[in-house]
Amino acid sequence: MDILEIARKGIEKIKGKIEQADIFVERRKSISLKWEKSTLKQVEVHYDEGISVRAFHKGGRGFACSSPLREENIDKVVEEAVSLAKAAQPDPDFKSLPSPGEGKKVKGLYDEKITLLSPADLARWGEEIIEGAKRIDEEAVVSGGISAGSVEYALANTEGVEVEDSQTGIYASVMVVLQKDGEVASYYDFDEARNLKDFHPIDIGEKACLQAREFFGAKQAPTGTYPVVFSYLMSPGIIGAIAGAANAEDIQRKRSFLVGKKGEKIAWEGLSVQDLPLIEGGMSSASFDGEGVPHKELNFIEEGVLMTYFHNSYTANKVEEENTGHAARFSYRGGVGISPTNLQIKLGDWTLEEMIQDMKRGLLVLSVGVQPNMASGDVSGPIDFGFMIEDGEKAYPLKNTMLGFNLLDLLKNIDAVSKDYREEPGVKMPALRVKNLRVGGGENG
């Protein structure tokens, strides 16, 4: 049966039993291939389908989900959600689910060619990725995988929202481990796309291997304070952590370090970030959010000023602000949260190479564990992959070296954004330079 029809029928069944509800129906198919120890290992084929119901009684919420999509399961989840909502406490902050709205259809999110990929197609890519790494170093141990899939989903609610969409995606990643004289060096790379035309994974094995070779001879940096350049792949992690803290739910619950910061200057005036959900073929693009609200573009940080928090219908109604359309629903199995989409940093006027050359003594960080304490914004994480820079050149790779900073301090201490970048569908990732950060390593330097 057509999935929107299933959602519609569910809404008909629930009307009269409860004040408001929404129903999400999903079918998902994927194929994946894993490689390990430099040889193809296993193909997996998955099919999943299911339905979830959110029901609201005096604002109290009940949620139920079930698979497979059988008639009796649909009746069951409707009944369960209604009875759970009635057992929940009333919530006066809940005003209403969204009403239908007009939005723009995002192009390039579905490519039939991806749905037609066979295990043999994935195996060909897998072999080429492994061979790429082996061409650089015959002894390279290569692991990783590639997965391709499609999802069709539909959402209907008691207020008249009825939306449906289909999306495809393909993702490959590789980890290369090298050994030399008892020392181990490693690195990773990836490629992702919604359309086959944007997917170019062949060279990721070679690139990861070339980068891994640079990590032999790693040393601990001396403890001290250094300027730090965060390379391309780091900027989404840093900006993503800031955007995560701008989740209106966390703001309203007063557990984010961005509480009370809206409208304030939180970063260097050269930093601007937009949330762009409508980019054609973007990895985080979609025409509407997880509650069926049409997406639109948004200025998140403008010249250092925090312009907005990210809302879903509940958080927006609670404080009577405009719903920014950031309800996130990743599968029928989960509820509705809040998430930004494609976060784009405004490009600057340096190149990454110029940032490095300009550095007397500092660090180049390719990857650091940015898992902040969301209440305080404090980060204390290891430099997973990085280099000590001396006189504008890489002096040695780093090991057992940690960064400690507060995200708000870091934002104010950024003093350059690069004009060059790494691009994945929907986002250009520039490098960022930060004036001074505290580094925990060996004896004080």
Binding site: H46, Y47, G62, R253, G335, A375, S380, V439, G441
Partner: protein
């Protein structure tokens, strides 16, 4: 289920396995004075795994019609056939003895017998207790209670058919507090492979009030210094270390694929002699308990390190065959959608003969790290990182300055060798979910207090 295995045999599979999993769960969350979510989930399906000419194929489906199950089997077979001439490391498994078994965890209070309203009342109490401790400074409190009933049937071409039913219950509380510009949070969790009798095993002082007190006390704590220090790790941090830093390296799939720092070290002294580390899925009531793994092998107690010597790894059927070992009962799959992979269960360091006080006196100056928040590891490089909930600077053998937002990092083998002392006190009290290969597994970990000569701390001063 058996018919799928028979059909696979008739189509030339040298090994086949059909696994049905149904997971029924309920979840209740109270936040800031209100029950805000009651949810119920039921997911079921079948995963089919085959070997043809040394190649694996796997397919899963949520549709349980005979037609769709047959189609899934065909997909698994077709996938294996694509790889059969391309796989260099041929798939093979240890032969199992034919057996039929059925085990069910009998709990004292079944979650199914407790009304949602009663569950909600209990969760509201925890949330209220935490909030009422200091309504001025406590900004956000969340309490939750979840239970998961997991039914699994494993059938394979060796004539194995095992069925098991498990219940896991988990209670959590989270508290965020603020004062001036300082914001801090803390949490507590209690869980086990048991029913709602779990809730009778702790009181507010030990749970909701403990989290609230911790969040409040962190408001006046200082950021940590940066550098390398001697350290005492509490049982939760030790649990994080044995699981993340050592345990993942002991998983035989990592060893076999060349991504473990302890490959080819069996029989070698890789840790200080006071160190023994065990993975034990048979501890009744512990969060990582199970009867059979997802390949049908009975759960076991497996010694990884004994008195500093690496004794053995953790295996599934495939790695046991390839590494000439016995399956250790560590093949686990999150659901029907995932093939079983090598996982830990309840992993811990065994107790020693020191007291905490003796460690403080011996260390004199350093840091005391308490409460594991999160951790991750690069197994192939042997580098680990943990974030801890709180810490103290130790000066002249006494706990002095309280520290917040502390992460530590080190090299696993170096750290294992630098362990100077292991305490008598022991706790296995970190119920949680371990992620690997896109799957999560119920695990617990813990140990004694441990004194380490050197650890790197990421600080802001």
């Amino acid at each position: 289920m058996e018919w799928l295995v028979e059909e696979a045999k008739s189509k030339g599979c040298s090994f086949s396995e059909a696994r049905f999993v149904r997971r029924t769960s309920s979840y209740i969350r109270a936040q800031d004075g209100r029950i805000e979510e009651l949810s119920q989930r039921e997911l079921a399906g079948v995963g089919i795994r085959v070997i043809i000419d040394g190649a694996w194929g796997f397919a899963s489906t949520a549709s349980l019609t005979k037609k769709d199950l047959s189609a899934s089997l065909e997909e698994a077979i077709a996938s294996a056939k694509v790889l059969r001439n391309k796989v260099e490391d041929k798939a093979e498994v240890v032969e199992m003895k034919s057996c039929t078994a059925k085990k069910e965890l009998h709990c004292k209070i079944s979650p199914e017998d407790v009304a949602p309203e009663d569950k909600a009342k209990r969760v509201s109490e925890w949330e209220r207790e935490a909030r009422s401790l200091d309504p001025q400074r406590i900004q956000n409190t969340v309490a939750s209670l979840s239970d998961v009933l997991r039914e699994e049937i494993v059938c394979n071409s060796f004539g194995v058919k095992v069925e098991s039913k498990l219940i896991h219950t988990l209670a959590t509380v989270f508290v965020a507090a603020s004062e001036g510009n300082v914001r801090q949070s803390a949490s507590e969790r209690r869980g086990g492979a048991k029913g709602y009798e779990l809730l009778e095993e702790f009181n507010p002082e030990d749970f909701s009030l403990k989290a609230a007190n911790k969040a409040l006390s962190l408001l006046s704590a200082s950021p940590p210094p940066a550098g390398t220090f001697p350290a005492i790790l509490d049982p939760e941090v030790v649990g994080l270390f044995v699981h993340e830093a050592l345990g993942h390296n002991a998983e035989a799939d990592a060893v076999w694929s060349g991504q473990s720092i302890i490959k080819e070290k069996k029989g070698e002294e890789i840790a200080a002699p006071c160190v023994s580390i065990v993975d034990d899925a048979t501890i009744e009531g512990a969060f990582g308990f199970y009867f059979f793994d997802s390949e049908g092998t009975p759960a076991k107690r497996n010694v990884i390190i004994e008195n500093g010597i690496l004794v053995d790894y953790l295996y599934n059927l495939e790695t046991a065959k390839k590494m000439n070992a016995q399956p250790s009962g560590n093949a686990r799959a999150e659901s029907y959608e995932s093939p079983p992979i090598v996982r830990m269960s309840n992993t811990f360091m065994c107790p020693g003969d020191w007291t905490f006080e003796e460690m403080l006196q011996e260390m004199k100056n350093g840091v005391y790290l308490k409460g594991g928040r999160w951790g991750y590891v690069f197994p192939e490089r042997g580098q680990f990182t943990f974030n801890v909930e709180e810490a103290y600077l130790v000066k002249d053998g006494e706990l002095k300055e309280h520290l917040r937002d502390v992460s530590m990092s080190g090299m696993t083998l170096e750290t294992l060798q630098k362990i100077r002392g292991v305490s008598k006190d022991f706790r296995l009290s970190s119920p949680g979910y371990c992620g690997k290969g896109g799957q999560t597994a119920f695990v617990d970990n813990g140990g004694p207090f441990v004194f380490v000569a050197k650890i790197t701390v990421g600080g802001r001063r």
